[in-house]
């Protein structure tokens, strides 16, 4: 840009070392670039300069360049960041800046990853349910009541929290059963929405979104560019209240007497909710670690031999009460007798896709 001055404060544009991952799903490697960096620039500016000079086909997502759209997520020196919000001045002089694509999602090309996982999870999360008897224009809510949900609605869907969450970061196998922090705050937002007509958001998050997988390492909160306190304000309250309602003897007793229109008493690691059939959501992509499987395709596959792709149940911490103790009182427990040593969510017989046994003669005709 001929007319554009390189500097406003007099310092000449310095040359900096960049290492950028180039490649696609078949593989790739870090490539070295020496590129001019001017004072006041962010990493995205430097990537744009590379596109305009040495690497015109360097793939990278971006839109607003103002930290508002959440498009330019990448990993900069190993840290998940928005590149438009990462100032070059935060690096040491002479420090090589390494830029790689988000690790949790499959690479499409260079710094662009396939984030469709997030859109699938968004689609599985039940939408806002408008109150039946309130006409448009008649919604009345107090500011203090909307503020709690508004915090979560600040989310710009950069998916850095999803990227950094260790439940799925290096565990592809957990993706099916785990929606991730972005959608926990969506569930929390709806749960706290003053007029949302659905009353089972927490139970749903626990039973169908894999909230139980989260063990509160707060990585998501740390990377959030919008500073949403994901763990403290969304995840923990969701977990606590699920546990409260589930194990508080009075709540439990009450729920037995006045049946609420909720998912029938879900246990922490799901299990029998798919069989209950009393909620509309029951048949839409329920992921259960066990329980009766009626998926004929899975059964057929399982019978053909060792099922290497089976979902291995993730170890889950036991559900504890407010005092951090296991609920041991049989009187207030919702099952007859003691908890199953195999876990409450495991029903027998085990579904065939969880079995790793193939009968040697299974393919021979039976008669």
């Amino acid at each position: 840009m001929g007319t554009e001055p390189k500097q406003a404060t007099g310092k000449p544009g310095a040359k900096r070392q960049f290492r950028i991952w180039r490649g696609d799903e078949t593989g790739g490697d870090l490539q070295d670039y020496t590129v001019e960096v001017n004072e006041g620039e962010v990493v995205l500016d430097v990537i744009h300069r590379l596109q305009a000079t040495d690497a015109p086909d360097l793939a990278c997502r971006w839109n607003c360049k103002a930290g508002k759209c959440g498009s330019c997520s990448m990993e900069i020196n190993g840290k998940p960041r928005l590149s438009c919000m990462t100032r070059m001045s935060t690096f040491e002089d002479g420090e090589t800046v390494t830029v790689t694509p988000l690790r949790t999602f499959p690479v499409i090309r260079d710094l662009v990853t396939d984030v469709s996982f997030n859109y699938e999870k968004a689609r599985e999360t039940p939408a806002f349910a408008p109150p039946a008897d309130v006409a448009p224009g008649d919604y009345r809510m107090q500011q203090v009541d909307v503020e709690r949900s508004q915090e979560f609605r600040k989310c710009i869907e950069c998916f850095l929290c999803q990227n950094v969450c260790h439940v799925i970061r290096d565990h592809e196998e957990n993706k099916q059963a785990f929606s991730g922090p972005r959608f926990f705050i969506r569930a929390a937002e709806l749960d706290m929405h003053p007029l949302d007509a659905k009353t089972d958001r927490k139970e749903y998050a626990q039973a169908e979104m894999g909230l139980g997988f989260c063990n509160i390492t707060k990585c998501c909160t740390e990377v959030c560019p919008e500073h949403i306190t994901i763990t403290d304000n969304a995840i923990i309250p969701m977990k606590e209240r699920v546990v409260d309602r589930r194990y508080d003897p009075l709540v439990w007793l009450g729920s037995k007497i006045f049946r609420r229109g909720q998912v029938p008493q879900t246990s922490v690691t799901s299990g029998h909710s798919s069989g209950a059939g009393s909620t509309g959501a029951a048949d839409s992509g329920v992921h259960s670690h066990s329980g009766g499987s009626h998926d004929t395709r899975a059964e057929r596959q399982a019978q053909q031999g060792v099922n290497w792709h089976r979902e291995v149940p993730h170890p889950t911490a036991p559900a504890v009460d407010a005092n951090g103790k296991l609920p041991l009182t049989e009187l207030t427990f919702d099952k007859a007798a003691a908890p199953s040593p195999f876990g409450d969510d495991v029903a027998f017989p085990l579904p065939p896709e969880h079995l790793n046994f193939a009968h040697p003669q299974q393919d021979e005709p039976k008669h």
Binding site: P56, N63, R87, M141
Partner: protein, 636 residues
Amino acid sequence: MTETRIERHHYDVVVIGAGGAGLRAAIEARLAGKKTAIISKSLFGKAHTVMAEGGAAAAMGNVNARDNWQVHFRDTMRGGKFLNNFRMAELHAKESPQRIWELETYGALFDRTKDGKISQRNFGGHEYPRLAHVGDRTGLELIRTLQQKIVSLQQEDKREFGDYEARIKVFAETTITELLLDGERVAGAFGYYRESGEFILFEAPAVVLATGGVGRSYKVTSNSWEYTGDGHALALRAGATLINMEFLQFHPTGMVWPPSVKGILVTESVRGDGGVLKNSEGKRFMFDYVPDVFRKQYADNEAEADRWYKDPDNNRRPPELLPRDEVARAINSEVKAGRGTPAGGVYLDIASRLPAEEIRRRLPSMYHQFKELADVDITKEPMEVGPTCHYVMGGVEVDPDSGAAYGTVRGLFAAGEVSGGMHGSNRLGGNSLSDLLVFGKRAGGHAASYADQLTARPKVSVTAVEAAVETALAPLQRDTGESPYVLQQDLQAVMGELVGIIRREGELADALGKLAELRERVAKVSAAGGRRYNPGWHLALDLRNMLVVSECTAKAALERQESRGGHTREDFPGMDPKWRQVNLVCSLDGDAVRLAQKPLPKMRPELIQLFDRAELAKYLTDEELAEFDALTEEER
């Protein structure tokens, strides 16, 4: 050419653009039972709508009960200097409140008043507090709400048909390069997946354009890379017309340096709270630029100006608070006279005017934005600012009620920034978000009923598709042409310097010459690399759209010999009532842009009577005023 794989889809309505207008249109088409596709140039939910901060204007009367659609209509017409399509302004004022309330049923959470209603804030040009808002992220709330409504419709479809995408599907990171016609009727749209570079063909009888604006043709802009005028250009090539293309909204104080915040707006309240503009010599230059008509209201010395902040009743206002176009003109003149900052702006200094504490208290979001994005501490150093391209008032000429494009084409609809007429020569803050909703819904609904009443579906011709494939692949197959990045920079330089905020006849003529040269070079652009997520190739394809739209702007700006709203001619500084009676209409004749004058539709009596005669006298010709007087006479 070897055989090219093209993925084919059949839809009833294809919506190009996934911002506020596009999503609202798609919702309406789907609610009408049509199979609907949404084409998004970026990921779903990243549209430029998220950048809107202020709010959505709707005369709900929640904060001031005297507000109603008539007052809103009046404000809109005034803001657009009476060049608005009155019917659009009327529909917009009448329907905005319903559109906002509807968002609440989709799950939106606006800030509230004490009695629990949607809170409304004051904004420039609006007589009463009118903007429904969510802090300073109203655009994000709007996009997210519409996005989530679409998801909820998909969930309904999943329950009914077992497939989320049975009736509405989002094609993310997909760019449309060509509309396909059957005679004069829209038959489909052709484009490519950005991720894979694979081609995709939509066969559809109705297309809604909702592609936003054209800001990327300017060097300093608040717009994102998507704003390359795709919809404007697609419409032109399909036989539709564009109006008001000479009107672009520039914000006088956008950041010009550091690069990390270039184009980002610095709110006017920085100047309202005491910020002053200085040139590179340290001179507070605005005193030299007070036009005679403003002498009574604006101070001519620093002492009086500074007293105004404390005692506005006995002192004249500081000249930094002149109307936007005056401030922009002054900055422009200083820079052109060589007294600008190295980055081509001027200094906006609040640091030396207020204690740091006070700045942080009064301008918290400004302070944080600059601290976080640019490491600029506005309590310690001056900002470097200059005019920023922000919004295009011009766009596809449409039927105000249905959003159907005029010109020869049928089955083409437009809504949002890509359509023209609603905002006249200048848009009021807050009117764009409600514009998206009102006209998005209308365009989607009318596209659906248009598709309904067709007896036979238009057919896509094989030759047209082959031609589109060839055009799309051409930049990749050339290796002798220039880089698309260089061409974009050159285009931006021409538009920024010659067709910018202040225009002159000579410069505009010069610009047209340079654009013609650029057209030759763009025709030979070459992109390195392959088809897979190749931004160089994508830009190469966008360039021809940017170019044709820039030509429209330059041509119309040269033709309109007056200054009005977003069009300032240094050689014709005043508003001319004769020019108010015409729209400049652009169409395509082969490759060339053709310009025609077209009379503005005449306002209905009950609408024009909402205004004072004294106000109308500023805008109307003597004959029009006589007509107005006759009308009032009749009433008596």
